[in-house]
Amino acid sequence: MSNVLTPEASGTAPAGDTRTLGKVRPHQTQNEALVFEKSSPGKKAYRLAQLDVPAVDPGALLGDAVRREPGELPELSEIEIIRHFTRLSTWNYAIDLGMYPLGSCTMKYNPRVNELVARIEGLAEAHPYRPDFLAQGQLDVVDLLQKCLIEITGMDAITMQPAAGAHGEFTGILLTRAWHQSQGDPRRTVIIPDSAHGTNPATAAICGYSVENLKSNAEGGIDLEALARQVNDQTAALMLTNPSTIGVFESQIHKIAEILHANGALLYMDGANMNALCGKTRPGDFGVDVMHLNLHKTFSTPHGGGGPGCGPVACKAFLEPFLPIPVLVKDENGDKHWNYDRPQSVGRVRAFFGNFGMFVRALAYILANGPDGLRQTTEDAVLNANYIRKKLEDVYDLPYNTPSMHEVVFSDRRQLKNGVRTGDIAKRLIDYGFHPYTVSFPLIVHGALMIEPTESESREELDLFVAAMRQIAREVEENPQLVLDAPHSTRVSRLDETTAARKPILRYRKPA
């Protein structure tokens, strides 16, 4: 089974090669100091245009407000800057290099045409306060994307303003709050399953709700009876991730919605896992009142080392009056405008109109897919996760036997007998040329390995991943120390996080 791991079989290595491990063979990366350590006074990487107006004396214009001591910024030439950041880049793993099965993060291919169209001058250089009549092209982008996302989610209205998923949660819960208040019934609590992303309880708390934990049932899903007991006239909403963080679709979703609605509470859906549903089923059809999407997950906008994201919030018609200002409207001539006259709005959640650059990329992705492509994408994502599950379930413990959608969650229970935990397996996976899965999440699975391959992986890459995971399972049995000391092939070995937190060094300081 593991012959994909042998150099002979990989076709790229001679017989007897010991340097190859699966798809990996070591290569050089260059050392590179901090940019401040490379600086030397008087070097320049810029040349300003010639000043075509009279020069001014800053001291005379600014008086006491003039800066006397410049900030210690580095001084380098252009070639050194190119090399500095290029060298740093080579220290990163990325989707462009291989499978990045970070569960819940949906690390899919980021199409390059998205980057091209986002940089078209007329889109990239438009000022947000440009009058609406000069911004019809921008508004066309917003309008079409809104329509597509409303159709995909099966909802009635949308705001594009939130800057990321957690910001979308915040907006969605504010809508919930505003609606309850408009009913003369401000409520106090938000119920959140113990399997939820940490952002859910943090969001509810920031919106002023007290958080009630809902314990998952034996299948890792919502316990309908427990929910029915817990929901009362103080429940504002349930924040539900569907499919859940263990990759399981809540097949009783309509009953969950019924329980909430019967008690005057709303169903909020965390759309982080929309990549399992897109084109196959619609949250608006199965009872969701309000939800957010992550354009950087489902709709392929790049993750960029941790952002920018974009977290639109879609809702049913009864929540529409509360959407953040402004909202896009069309006049009788077909011209598009921003409407700020919305007395019931929750207000603004961000300056301007949201991460427009991400709208462009997401729309380009939707246009490249069309309805058939989006459906096929979802099917492939689910196919890939189930393939991995099938190929690994005999060596890794599967805590929940419920059918998987777009991700599969194992536990380290079997490996723990040899003192090896999920975090160790993750580090060893690096040696095999993969980014690790999500470690130790969700919290309902002790020692979780949360694997989300996405649709972007070929069967060959999946097989290499499976082979690596199986090989690691064998190593755990035969030589656990090898796994405990991993990674062995990276520029740095495991880093001392304890000291980093105890005595934080958060910036460079020039040696005295």
Binding site: R67, W91, A202, T281, G307, A368, L383, P504, L506
Partner: protein, 453 residues
């Protein structure tokens, strides 16, 4: 579908290995009545050339090469071309939050450099890895001050960007629901355009968590930070300074008396992009670091003693603390922060000052020639400003806007939408890339006021 690396034969083979008879088996868990039995009603699949054409047509709906005097929190500076070439490297573009430090040292070191540069420029001890933008950053800075002081009251200058104030108000809503009006605004001096210090002094109490001002403020005026700090600190309140125009720090004294600085770093090499993505960042005095929101990168060593970088102090964050976290923020603006880091490396210690000086000169010239026209005069001349100014015209701005549009120029922003008392007042910004020729044309058109007006 060209992004999907599988043939139908491979799909069929994989299904067989799983033991499924068709792909529908894998979706059987979705109740049948909720399965979508039709195509989504969205545009059909397009070829790459069609996609590019669609966006080019949208972009071409207005003339691209307008000259703009708009600022107001979004500033068009020249973006050195190496920024886009570097941030489009897949290793930066298609990586994620550096949870696995051993294989994300590139992102981590770059963020550490970003944190250092922001601390250097703002005069603060530490800076975080970024926030969504300046407006949400300001709201998070206020919540941070509330946590630090255990107080509720927030005083915000009316000279803060109006949309930032709207966002802060939205964030404060839930606290207001319980404790009444916690966020109050402090007016401005009609001559200087600065916060009204006497009104501020009268408003600060021992229940004030923080005073938040913007400098340069929304009118482009530099606030008197030392005086404001004195007033806040006397009552034990923190001073939060919001900076919307980061380039100002090249020439304007940093707000070293502040406890927290919330900055929008868009000016550092980030395209206007119709309002985002931009790059907020929070910087603060060291003693407040454990109350900061957002990611922080710290330096440490590996098992062999090599220097390396990790995400640190994560016990503040939502994935550990859940409802007790300092913020719900997860994703931030890492790639945009990288743009800012590259921008600041290109300009460096000297260049950022020179660049700021050019902005100062361009704006001074623009103010001078515009105010020379009939019926035009500058407002708020009693205090120093950076590269924005408020111009009053006797003529209705709608009239001269029309003349400027004929010349493919977008003039200053009308302020009465947020400040009804400032009728006929417009906010102008001139950055280093606006050519003198265009400034002169704008002045000429503004002066071409018809006799009846």
């Amino acid at each position: 579908m060209r992004y999907l690396p599988k043939s139908d034969a491979e799909r069929a083979a994989m299904l067989r290995e799983i033991g499924a008879s068709s792909i529908d088996d894998l979706f059987a868990v979705i109740p049948e009545e909720y399965r979508l039995a039709r195509d989504l009603d969205i545009p059909r699949q397009m070829g790459e050339s069609e996609i590019v054409e669609w966006f080019r047509s949208a972009a071409a709906k207005y003339t691209v090469r307008h000259t703009s005097f708009l600022g107001a929190g979004v500033y068009r500076h020249y973006r050195p071309c190496i920024i886009d070439s570097l941030v489009q490297r897949g290793e930066f573009l298609t990586s994620y939050t550096p949870y696995q430090a051993e294989i994300t040292q590139g992102t981590l070191q770059a963020i550490f450099e970003f944190q250092t540069m922001i601390a250097e420029l703002t005069g603060m001890d530490v800076a975080n890895a970024s926030m969504y933008d300046g407006s949400t950053g300001a709201a998070e800075a206020v919540m941070m001050a509330v946590r630090v002081t255990g107080r509720d009251g927030v005083l915000v200058a009316r000279t803060v960007h109006p949309e930032y104030r709207e966002v802060m108000h939205t964030y404060a809503q839930h606290r207001e629901a319980e404790t009444g009006d916690v966020m109050r605004e402090v007016g401005y001096d009609p001559d200087s355009g600065r916060i009204d210090l006497a009104a501020l002094e009268a408003a600060v109490t021992d229940q004030t968590a923080c005073v938040l001002v913007q400098s340069p403020n929304f009118f482009g005026i530099i606030e008197d930070i030392p005086a404001i700090a004195d007033i806040a600190h006397k009552k034990g309140a923190l001073l939060v300074v919001s900076i919307a125009e980061a380039i100002s720090l090249g020439i304007v004294r940093p707000p070293v008396e502040a406890d927290i600085v919330s900055m929008e770093a868009q000016s550092f090499g980030v395209a206007l992009c119709y309002g985002g993505p931009y790059c907020g960042v929070i910087a603060a005095k060291e003693k407040y670091v454990r109350q900061m929101p957002g990611r922080l990168v710290g330096q440490t060593t590996d098992r062999n003693g090599y220097r390396g970088f990790v995400l640190t102090l994560s016990t503040r964050e939502q994935h550990i603390r859940r409802e007790k976290a300092t913020s719900n923020i997860c994703t931030n603006q890492a790639l945009v922060a990288l743009m800012a880091t590259i921008f600041l490396t290109v300009y460096g210690k000297e260049g950022i000052r020179e660049l700021a000086e050019h902005n100062l000169a361009k704006s001074a010239y623009t103010a001078q020639v515009l105010a020379a026209g009939p019926g035009a005069r500058l407002r708020f001349t009693g205090a120093p400003r950076f590269h924005e100014f408020v111009l009053h015209t006797d003529e209705d701005p709608a009239a001269w806007h029309h003349r400027l549009h004929e010349e493919k120029i977008v003039g200053g922003l009308e302020l009465n939408r947020w400040y009804p008392e400032l009728d006929h007042a417009t906010l102008w910004c001139t950055t280093e890339i606006v050519p003198r020729e265009k400034i002169d044309i704008a002045a000429k058109q503004l002066a071409a006021v018809s006799v009846e007006a």
